[in-house]
């Protein structure tokens, strides 16, 4: 630890997501005893799992200073495809595989345009957002699809006493954390996000790295869609709509920088996703005025981003070299 990173304010600001999360828990817990009941806390975790899953993929992309706006549409296409297959009598496993394949293909399409044609990720994924939504509407014919009970059973199931959505999330989270923090590939993602030119000059195959993160994001979007399907048991034409914003918000709340090179899926992104759901849950429990929901959620995102900005400025100030000795 360098003297700069030992600065007390920096230590506090580095833990901003945790501090914010604990503050929200304390605030709602003080207003309602029901809020901190174990059942409710598990409920919050289950409800966060879909957004958290999509946000894990989004973190990979944000770490390379990119963005993936198509995740909600990828969820929709995958869900529409899975729903169509399930309603035609195909086995549940095949529907799930088709869903994941759709996510992988969507991610690969983004990767192709970003790396081969060098189009800005924002533009590419905006285009695939519309493409995916159109494709999903075409598959569903804008009709709501009520899926077989097997989807709901999957969502309500448990493995070793742990709800299935949390098992899926936990597995992916563990893999993502290990990949990012303990493998050369993870370090290459951070290096690419910090300075792509330097990374390229250092011999990293940045094209492959960028392509991989969009494919990971597509796969995570599909899995997030799967978790949602097991909760809802239905696909509506608005399925996955605006999920990209929730995923970006979760990653940023968890301390991931929009400029790349900084962030962690655990605890960062997970905490961010849980924080958003915790706020919604707390407001419902308190029967808050519906107009307050967007105000409170945006205030929390604003506080988190401001804290991140403060942290960044403090790091810059502490690492500034003195030109003249005092």
């Amino acid at each position: 630890m360098t003297p700069a990173t030992r600065h007390p304010w920096l230590i506090v600001l580095n833990q901003a997501p945790v501090v914010l999360f604990l503050a929200v828990l304390a605030l709602f817990g003080a207003r309602s005893a029901q809020f901190l009941q174990p059942d409710n806390l598990v409920n919050i975790l289950i409800q966060s799992s879909s957004t958290a899953m999509v946000a894990i993929g989004m973190t990979f992309v944000l770490l390379t200073a990119g963005v993936d706006l198509s995740v909600g549409s990828m969820m929709f296409v995958g869900a529409a495809l899975a729903g169509k297959l399930a309603l035609q009598g195909y086995p549940l496993l095949l529907s799930i595989l088709a869903m994941i394949l759709a996510g992988l293909l969507g991610g690969a399409l983004n990767a192709l345009f970003v790396t081969r044609l060098r189009i800005a990720p924002f533009i590419v994924t905006l285009a695939t957002l519309y493409l995916g939504r159109g494709l999903g509407l075409w598959i569903t014919q804008t009709r709501a699809m009520n899926l077989p009970e097997s989807f709901l059973h999957l969502g309500a199931g448990r493995w070793l006493g742990i709800p299935i959505p949390l098992v899926i999330l936990g597995t992916v989270l563990l893999i993502a954390h290990i990949v990012l923090q303990h493998t050369p590939f993870g370090r290459q993602i951070y290096a690419t996000g910090q300075d792509i030119e330097t990374a390229r000059k250092a011999g990293l195959r940045t094209g492959r790295i960028l392509a991989s993160v969009y494919i990971v994001s597509g796969a995570c979007a599909a899995l997030g869609g799967l978790i949602s399907l097991t909760q809802l048991g239905a696909v509506s034409p608005t399925f996955g709509a605006q999920k990209e914003f929730a995923a970006i918000a979760a990653a940023v709340l968890g301390g991931t920088s929009l400029f790349g090179g900084r962030g962690r899926v655990f605890p960062g992104t997970l905490l961010g996703a849980v924080l958003i759901q915790t706020v919604e849950n707390g407001l419902v429990i308190l029967n808050a005025d519906p107009y307050l929901y967007p105000l409170v959620t945006s205030a929390i995102i604003f506080v988190a981003v401001s804290l991140d900005c403060l942290r960044q400025r403090l790091v810059e100030r502490l690492s500034r070299r003195l030109i003249r000795p005092v």
Binding site: S32, Q34, D39, N40, N43, Q47, S50, Y130, R133, L137, Q141, T142, R143, A144, N146, L152, G155, A156, S228, Q231, L232, G233, A234, S236, P237, T238, F239, G240, A241, Q242, Q277, E280, N281, V284, I285, N287, D289, P290, Y291, Y293
Partner: protein
């Protein structure tokens, strides 16, 4: 240079006169009319059923229909309507993105002397004249929730209640919320609203909200959703807590909705849904086209044509199902 400018102006003038002459000639000869239909989105069954009804009605009347979908983008809708105006259509029917952004579009159509009808969504008050065909969201919800309240009052027991509110920026969602609150108000001794969930018309948000509310208030016995398309969210939440029971069975939660879609019809048939307020798609579509024709003929047309809709419930299901737009879709889907 000067002569070139004059030639250009003359050409434009001739084009304009030509278009005007074409239009008057078409009117005089009784040639088929062209109506531009600009939908904000097709992302719910209601809008799909509506556009299909427009196609059928236009075909029956020998009208050519031009269609444009804005995919939720108000600017795109403005361009689409300008395009209709430049093509000199005989009338425009629009489902606006919201109550404010449509006002410049109404002004543009008015300046071009093209009658414009707003379908199912009214504009904010302004000096821009238009005709709106809209369901009476407030009254229809009030009637639906009053029916549900009657069912609750018959038991003489306390009914904690929940409402799923739509997008708070949607005037129809607000009308439905107000109708719900006013229907409940006289019965607060037995029906108490313990949870108001803002869904932003999002199924996942609705599902999370219902689960949260059931966690906080396990005694909830009365649920109203501002749109039937959110019913799957309620059903899945009730199933996951083992509280999805048919009418008449112990533990049944009184359920009601608004729209009259295929899911609502199926749930009514199966005996899970108590009532829903049905928007009369056929009435709204016929009234919209008729309003354009009447306007063009110089006949007086009301600024707001209200679709009274109707409440469908277990007591009148058989006789009213034929007028419920979702019933047709549900029957088509059956193997």
């Amino acid at each position: 240079m000067k002569s070139m400018t004059w030639s250009l102006l003359a050409s434009l003038l001739m084009l304009g006169v030509g278009a005007g002459c074409q239009r008057s000639a078409r009117q005089a000869e009784g040639a088929p009319l062209t109506i531009g239909v600009a939908f904000e989105t097709l992302q719910t069954e209601f809008w799909v059923a509506s556009i299909e009804a427009f196609r059928a009605e236009a075909k029956a009347r020998g009208i050519t229909l031009l269609e444009a979908i804005a995919d939720g983008d108000a600017n795109r809708q403005l361009e689409q309507i300008k395009n209709f105006i430049s093509r000199r259509v005989d009338g425009i029917i629009a489902v606006p993105k919201d109550a404010q952004t449509i006002i410049p579009m109404i002004r543009a159509a008015h300046q071009a002397q093209i009658p414009m009808v707003l379908y199912n969504r009214p504009p904010d008050p302004s000096d821009a004249p238009s005709i709106t065909v809209v369901a009476d969201n407030y009254s229809l919800t009030k009637a639906t929730v009053s029916y549900m309240a009657e069912q609750a009052l018959q038991t003489g027991e306390l009914h904690p209640a929940m409402i799923l509110i739509g997008d708070l920026g949607d005037i129809n969602a607000i009308g439905r919320r107000d109708g719900f609150e006013d229907a409940i108000r006289p019965h607060t001794n037995l029906i108490q609203v313990v949870s108001r969930i803002p869904t932003e018309w999002n199924l996942e948000k609705a599902q999370a909200g219902v689960v949260n509310a059931l966690q906080a208030h396990p005694g909830i016995r009365f649920i109203f959703t501002s749109s039937d398309f959110l019913l799957p969210a309620i059903v899945s939440a009730l199933k996951s807590t083992g509280r999805y029971h048919k009418i008449g069975q112990p533990g049944h939660i009184i359920l009601g909705g608004f729209d009259g879609d295929a899911t609502a019809y199926r749930m009514l048939e199966e005996g899970y849904l108590d009532a829903t307020g049905v928007q009369d798609v056929q009435f709204e579509v016929v009234s919209s086209i008729q309003a354009i024709l009447d306007s063009r003929a110089g006949k007086p047309v009301a600024a707001v044509i209200k679709d009274p809709g109707f409440v469908i419930h277990q007591g009148n299901l058989k006789e009213m199902a034929s007028r419920m737009w979702g019933a047709g879709i549900a029957r088509q889907r059956r193997p």
